[in-house]
């Protein structure tokens, strides 16, 4: 159907495109600024006022400072352990739970479903949770960052919905051949569910990469710190101290500002690199979740 486009349409489209371009700029510019600032000459950066449209000079001195801090590498290594081990346990438990809850016809199903979903809406609170983890002896233990978030109920429901959508006929023949539930899950359901498993790996992986609060309250040993907690010391703690004493933290040491920006870059680059490739999986996960919600 060909319809003559009116002037109003052109005005609408033009304004719309301008708004979208503004959104892109507002979203990306902070990252661009950080990139340019991290590559700038530290003293030039101090003297500079206003937005940056290119690095002031081109120096790696800030990055060298970042990697001189042994905690950055320790944090990176620890975060890698948390992401890999944590996501593995997440995946194992979530798959088991999702499969069990997607089966039909067993007596306690609705009760267990209620027991699990109820935790999405009500909890004992921060302090009782803290005391439980302490009682279990998980303080100053890497497991404190892995076991308490071992299952995300939201992810469990997404996976259950996806498993339940697989036609029963797929398992019927396996059942006739005498396969038990473990075999059905491993040989039939999991191979058919690779897209949702990819979504789960990404959701859980990003969770572990970004998590910091449990680490802050349960870890005293700095050698176990994940990267985000190291970042907190560099980016947040130092500046809040100086803010409350009224002395600008950035005034004290000339190299501080660009080093902070370089730290942000070092901590964010992995996400920025993988993000464009993984984006569609994230969106898929939200869509599956939205159908249920």
């Amino acid at each position: 159907m060909v319809v003559k486009r009116k002037i109003g349409d052109y005005v609408f489209d033009t304004i719309n495109i301008i708004l979208m371009c503004l959104l892109i700029i507002v979203t990306l510019y902070p990252f661009i600024y950080v990139t340019f600032a991290s590559l700038s000459n530290p003293s030039a950066m101090i003297a500079h006022n206003g937005l940056l449209f290119a690095p002031l000079g081109f120096e790696m001195v800030s990055y060298r400072m970042v990697f001189k801090n042994p905690m950055i590498l320790t944090g990176y290594a620890n975060t890698l352990v948390y992401v890999i081990a944590g996501t593995f346990i997440n995946l194992f438990l979530t798959t088991l739970g999702a499969y069990a809850l997607s089966r039909k016809g067993y007596y306690w199903k609705n009760f267990f479903m209620f027991v699990i979903v109820f935790t999405m809406f009500f909890g004992g609170g921060l302090i009782p949770f803290y005391l439980v983890v302490k009682t279990l002896g998980l303080t100053d233990n890497m497991l404190a960052l892995i076991l308490p978030p071992a299952i995300s109920t939201y992810n469990l429901i997404i996976m259950r919905t996806s498993f339940a959508a697989i036609p029963d006929s797929m398992e019927e023949s396996a059942k006739i051949d005498g396969a038990n539930d473990f075999i059905i899950l491993y040989k039939i359901i999991v191979p058919l569910s690779m897209p949702v498993i990819a979504v789960m790996i990404l959701f859980y992986g990003v969770y572990h990469w970004n998590a910091w609060f449990n680490a802050m309250i349960f870890l005293r040993n700095r050698n176990l710190y994940p990267l985000q907690l190291v970042l907190r010391e560099i980016l947040i703690a130092s500046s809040t101290d100086s803010m409350t004493t009224g002395v600008g933290g950035l005034d004290k040491e000339p190299v501080g500002e660009t080093v902070k920006y370089a730290t942000i870059m070092v901590a964010t680059l992995p996400i920025l690199f993988v993000y464009p490739f993984l984006q569609k999986y994230f969106v898929k996960g939200v869509m599956i979740g939205a159908i249920k919600g």
């Binding site: 109003g8 349409d9 609408f12 489209d13 719309n16 979208m20 959104l23 892109i24 979203t27 902070p30 006022n49 206003g50 937005l51 940056l52 088991l96 739970g97 069990a100 016809g105 067993y106 007596y107 306690w108 267990f112 027991v115 699990i116 935790t119 909890g123 004992g124 609170g125 921060l126 302090i127 009782p128 949770f129 439980v132 076991l147 071992a150 299952i151 539930d181 473990f182 899950l185 970004n210 910091w212 309250i217 970042l231 980016l235 947040i236 500046s239 809040t240 803010m243 409350t244 600008g248 933290g249 950035l250 005034d251 730290t263 901590a267 996400i271 920025l272 984006q279 939200v286 869509m287």
Partner: protein, 318 residues
């Protein structure tokens, strides 16, 4: 299943048949139950045990005596909180941050979805989407690090304020700026991700409506107003009700990374107060009482929101 009725002469027989039924059910679905063991163990340990432990809100908890051994305190901690000077402050701040989020943050992804839907170029639409989802994946630590640096006295935001004729100041030290900073950066981080669900709802609208509207001479505004918005209205209403159900709930992560004693007056919310009292001041029982009060309110609001949602359009959470 077999019913159990006390005083029924056939009670023994009924109990036996109920037992037989459960045993048969367990045998038949043995592997499903085995799979559920670790999953339920997780929920019992990390969700239901803390719920059991929440009783310390009614006790004077002493870590040496344990939960059982600590003496009861009744509602004293709740009374202390309700009559204390911080009650009004933290409740007000919690509600106000949510209210600003509701007024400015809630419509933002809807508007973005409507505008994205009107873009003619698919490639450009995809670029905008990809870019706008990005901040969602950036860690809260990095986001707060950028906020702190940009709003510092020598930061880029102050550079711009000075160029525009204002004077420099550490924005995070000013109580009146906290909510603006908190809500605007929330929108920055969440607008794209939040639009996904509306874009999904938009794909469900029958294109024939638009064709008919064009034939009737409806312009773009009229099409948006009369077809698109009614088309996604059920989604908007459900999300709005859920959002209102969260009115007393503000996560503490971003708050405790950005606030400082200078801004407690506008920044301290219930959850950050619980964190500070409990884990920094070690008032376990008192902060558990505050947390329990908050959980009960949140849960009631959610039940209410769900009930309203059910009455309105037969959509509900469960």
């Amino acid at each position: 299943m077999a019913e159990l009725q006390i005083g029924n002469p056939g009670i023994n027989q009924k109990i036996t048949s109920a037992g037989k039924f459960l045993l048969k059910d367990f045998k038949k679905h043995k592997y499903v139950y085995i799979m559920l063991i670790p999953v339920l163990a997780y929920y019992v340990t990390f969700h239901y045990w803390p719920m059991y432990g929440a009783q310390i809100a009614f006790k004077d908890f002493n870590p040496g005596k344990g939960i059982i051994g600590s003496p009861w305190a009744g509602f004293r901690h709740f009374e202390t909180f309700f009559s204390g000077v911080y009650f009004f402050r933290v409740v007000r701040n919690t509600i106000l941050i949510n209210l600003y989020g509701l007024i400015f943050g809630f419509p933002a992804p809807i508007i973005l979805a409507l505008l994205l839907n009107e873009l003619r170029s698919r490639a450009f639409k995809r670029v905008v989407q990809t870019v706008s989802y990005l901040p969602h994946f950036i860690s809260i630590m990095v986001v707060c690090g950028m906020i702190i640096d940009f709003t510092a006295k020598r930061g880029v935001v102050n550079d711009l304020i000075e160029i525009l004729g204002g004077t420099r100041s550490s924005l995070l030290l000013k109580p009146e700026m906290f909510r603006l900073i908190y809500v605007s950066t929330d929108i920055w981080q969440g607008i794209g991700w939040g639009s996904i669900i509306y874009l999904a709802a938009l794909t469900g609208i029958d294109p024939q409506y638009y064709e008919a509207a064009v034939l009737d001479g409806a312009n773009r505004w009229k099409q948006i107003w009369h077809i698109t918005i009614p088309g996604i209205a059920p989604t908007i209403i459900i999300l709005l009700i859920l959002r209102i159900g969260q009115m007393m709930n503000v996560g503490f992560e971003k708050i405790i990374l950005l606030y400082n004693p200078n801004t407690y007056d506008t920044a301290d919310v219930i959850s950050s107060y619980v964190y500070r009292k409990g884990l920094l001041d070690f008032s376990y029982s008192y902060s558990s009482a505050v947390g329990l009060f908050n959980s009960v309110i949140n849960f009631s609001l959610l039940l209410l929101a769900n009930w309203i949602s059910k009455r309105l359009n037969e959509n509900s959470l469960w």
